[in-house]
C-alpha cells in the first residue's frame, strides 16, 4: 500500500498525548485516517454519538466555509471535538481531545497539521495540473 503523506501528518498529530483521535473528514465520510489504529482511550465507546454530532456540524461547515468559516468545536460528555476547516472546501481536519486538556497548546499543533496538509494538497493539485497538460 502506498504511503499517504496526509496519513503521515495525522500519525504525527496522534502521537501527542491529548489527541485521542484525528482524521480528515467531510459530511458522511472520513477521507483519511492515521496509519495506525486511529483511536485512543475510551473514545470508541462514544464514537457513534460523536460521529452523528460531527455530521451535523459538517452541515454547518458546508454552508459557511465559502464565507470564510475557519474553525468549529463542540463539547460532548468528557470530550471536545475540534474542526479545522480547509478553506473554501467542505473538508476539515477533525481532532478529538479530552474536555480538560490544555487546548491552547494543542490548537497550535492542530493548526500546524492543517497547514502541512494544505501544502500537500497544493502539491498534489500542481502535480495533477502538470499531468493534465
Amino acid at each position: 500500500m502506498q504511503d499517504d503523506p496526509i496519513a503521515d501528518v495525522l500519525e504525527d498529530l496522534l502521537r501527542l498525548d491529548d489527541i485521542l483521535a484525528c482524521m480528515v473528514a467531510r459530511r458522511n465520510m472520513i477521507s483519511v485516517m492515521p496509519n495506525s489504529d486511529g483511536f485512543k482511550g475510551d473514545v470508541m465507546q462514544v464514537w457513534d454519538i460523536i460521529h452523528r454530532a460531527m455530521d451535523d456540524v459538517f452541515g454547518v461547515i458546508s454552508q459557511y466555509s465559502q464565507a470564510g468559516l475557519g474553525e468549529m468545536e463542540f463539547r460532548l460528555q468528557e470530550y471536545e471535538v475540534l474542526f479545522y476547516v480547509f478553506p473554501d472546501t467542505e473538508n476539515a481536519l477533525v481532532a478529538i481531545i479530552p474536555a480538560l486538556a490544555n487546548k491552547g497548546l494543542i490548537e497550535i499543533e492542530i493548526e500546524n497539521a492543517r497547514l502541512d496538509i494544505l501544502k500537500i494538497l497544493e502539491k498534489q493539485e500542481k502535480a495533477r495540473a502538470i499531468v493534465s497538460h
Binding site: K103, L105, I108, E111
Partner: protein, 459 residues
C-alpha cells in the same frame, strides 16, 4: 548625532526612528555579529538533537560564541533528554558554551510550535561568554544564585568588554502530586487549605516539588551581578507543571539554575509588553504563606471569596475549567504605585489562592486582558528597537490563551526580525535593568532582547 528638533508629527517620529535603526543595523553588521536559529520536529531524541544543531550551525560562517538550546517535554518519552543532548553534541563543536531547558513552546521564523526543539547560536569576535550553574534553587535560591554568579564572574574575569548581559533559566514550578491520585487542580474543601499550605512548603524544601522561587533567585543573582542586564525564564513542560529539565553543557538536570553571561561591545536592549490593564479593583493581602506564593486572606476575608466577588463569578464556577477563565483575570502586585507585576492564579485550594510566583507587594489589583491586547503588546515591545536580532522570553499563559492565533505574534516578529529571532514560552519571566532600577519576576509578559551599538532611551 540625530537632530530630533524638527519632529512635529507621529509620522515624523516613526520615520526618524526607522532611519536611526537602519543606521544601527549597518553598524552591527560591520561588527561581524552573526546569529542563527534552527529547529527540529523529529520525534526521536538523538536525531532531533543532531538536526537542531545542524540546522542552526549551517547558518553561521564562524563557530558559535554560545548555543542556547530549548525543547518541549516530548523527548522525555521518546529517547530521553540525555539522548537528545548527546545528539546535539554529535554536531556542536566541543567546548561551545551551552545552556537551555524545556519550554512549553517556541516561535521562530518557520512557525509557532508546541512540540519540537529549537536553538539559537550567536557568533561575534567582540563577545566573551561564560556559563554558570547552581543546584537546588527551590531548596536554596540564594546558594544556587551565588554559585552560578561566581562561575560567570570567574569565566568573564579576563574580558575587556564593558557591556554585560545574563540569560538565566531556572527549574520552574511543579505541582505537588498525591500518591495514587496524581495531580490535582482544585481543592474545594476549605478545611484542607491550611494543611495544603504546610505540605507545600515541606514539598518545596524537601522534595523540590512546588514553588520555583524564581523571584528570590533573581534578587540574589542581581546582587551578585549588579552591573549585568538580566533576562530569564523558567523551564517547564506542556503546562501540566509535573516535570521540567535544564541543559548545561553535556548534562541534563532537573533542579538547577543556569546562566549564560556575556560581555560585549554591543549594548543589550530589553523591552517588554503585557497587554494587561487594571480593572480598578484593589485589595490588600492580610495573610500569606509559603514565601508569598499562597494568599490566605485579602482585606481580612478568605482570598477565594474576595477574588470571586471582584470578578463577579458564582462559587460553582470553581471546577477544573476555571483556569481557562482566570487567565483573563490575573492579579497584579502594585509596586510604588507605578509598576504592576502580574501574577496568574495557579490553584484554588479551599479559601486560599495559590500563585505560581510570589507576590512582591501586599497591595493587589485585579487585571484583565483580551486576545487583541495580548497581540498589540507585541507591537509596543518591538517599536523602536534594532531589528538585526531578537531573542524573547514570553509567558506560556499567553501561548495557551492565544492558541493557534499565536501565529499573529509570529508574523509580527518575522516582519521585524526576518529569520533572526527566537521566542521561548516559559511560566515566568525575570528582568533586571540596572539603570532603571527594575528587578522583578513577572508573569504574562512578552520580553525581547536585542543588541545595539549604543544605548537607546526607551522611556
Amino acid at each position: 548625532m540625530q537632530d530630533w528638533s524638527a519632529i512635529e508629527t507621529e509620522e515624523d517620529f516613526k520615520q526618524k526612528i526607522k532611519g536611526s535603526l537602519e543606521a544601527e543595523i549597518k553598524e552591527i553588521l560591520k561588527s561581524d555579529f552573526e546569529s542563527a536559529v534552527g529547529m527540529s520536529r523529529k520525534w526521536d531524541a538523538r536525531e532531533a538533537g543532531r538536526e537542531v544543531a545542524r540546522s542552526t550551525l549551517k547558518k553561521l560562517k564562524t563557530p558559535p560564541s554560545f548555543f542556547l538550546l530549548f525543547s518541549t517535554i516530548h523527548y522525555k518519552k521518546h529517547g530521553g533528554f540525555q539522548e537528545f543532548l548527546d545528539g546535539v553534541w554529535d554536531v556542536l563543536p566541543d567546548k561551545t558554551p551551552l545552556i537551555g531547558g524545556t519550554v512549553a513552546g517556541f516561535i521562530n521564523s518557520d512557525g509557532s510550535y508546541a512540540r519540537g526543539a529549537t536553538a539559537m547560536a550567536v557568533s561575534s569576535p567582540n563577545m566573551d561568554a561564560a556559563i554558570g550553574f547552581g543546584k537546588n534553587p527551590k531548596k536554596s535560591p540564594k546558594k544556587a544564585a551565588q554559585r552560578c554568579a561566581a562561575m560567570i564572574k570567574n569565566g568573564l574575569k579576563n574580558s575587556d568588554y564593558q557591556n554585560k548581559f545574563l540569560f538565566e533559566i531556572v527549574s520552574g514550578p511543579k505541582f505537588p502530586t498525591i500518591p495514587f491520585k496524581g495531580e490535582f487542580r482544585i481543592i474545594k474543601n476549605r478545611s484542607l487549605s491550611l494543611l495544603f499550605a504546610y505540605l507545600s512548603k515541606i514539598s518545596t524544601s524537601l522534595f523540590q516539588k512546588g514553588a520555583a522561587r524564581e523571584a528570590e533567585a533573581l534578587q540574589f543573582l542581581s546582587k551578585e551581578l549588579d552591573d549585568f542586564y538580566i533576562l530569564g525564564g523558567s523551564s517547564m513542560d506542556d503546562c501540566r507543571y509535573v516535570d521540567n529539565f535544564q541543559f548545561y553543557n553535556k548534562k541534563v538536570y532537573k533542579n538547577s539554575l543556569l546562566g549564560l553571561g556575556l560581555q560585549t561591545n554591543l549594548f543589550p536592549i530589553i523591552k517588554s509588553g503585557s497587554g494587561l490593564i487594571s480593572t480598578g479593583k484593589k485589595s490588600n493581602v492580610t495573610k500569606d504563606r509559603v514565601w508569598g506564593h499562597i494568599i490566605c486572606s485579602l482585606d481580612h476575608k478568605p482570598a477565594t471569596d474576595v477574588y470571586l466577588k471582584a470578578v463577579d463569578w458564582p462559587e460553582k464556577i470553581l471546577d477544573e475549567r476555571v483556569y481557562t477563565k482566570t487567565i483573563y483575570y490575573p492579579l497584579g502586585s502594585i509596586i510604588n504605585e507605578k509598576l504592576i507585576v502580574p501574577n496568574v492564579i495557579a490553584l484554588f485550594v479551599g479559601k486560599y489562592i495559590v500563585l505560581a510566583h510570589s507576590i512582591p507587594s501586599k497591595k493587589l489589583c485585579l487585571l484583565t486582558t483580551s486576545g487583541e491586547r495580548l497581540t498589540k503588546a507585541i507591537d509596543d515591545a518591538l517599536f523602536g528597537i534594532p531589528s538585526n536580532f531578537g531573542f524573547g522570553v514570553s509567558c506560556a499563559i499567553r501561548m495557551q490563551t492565544l492558541g493557534d492565533k499565536v501565529n499573529i505574534v509570529k508574523e509580527k516578529l518575522k516582519s521585524k526580525f526576518g529569520d533572526n529571532f527566537l521566542v521561548i514560552y516559559t511560566p515566568g519571566e525575570s528582568i533586571y535593568l540596572p539603570d532603571k532600577g527594575i528587578c522583578q519576576h513577572f508573569q504574562n509578559t512578552f520580553n525581547i532582547l536585542t543588541f545595539g551599538t549604543s544605548k537607546i532611551d526607551l522611556t
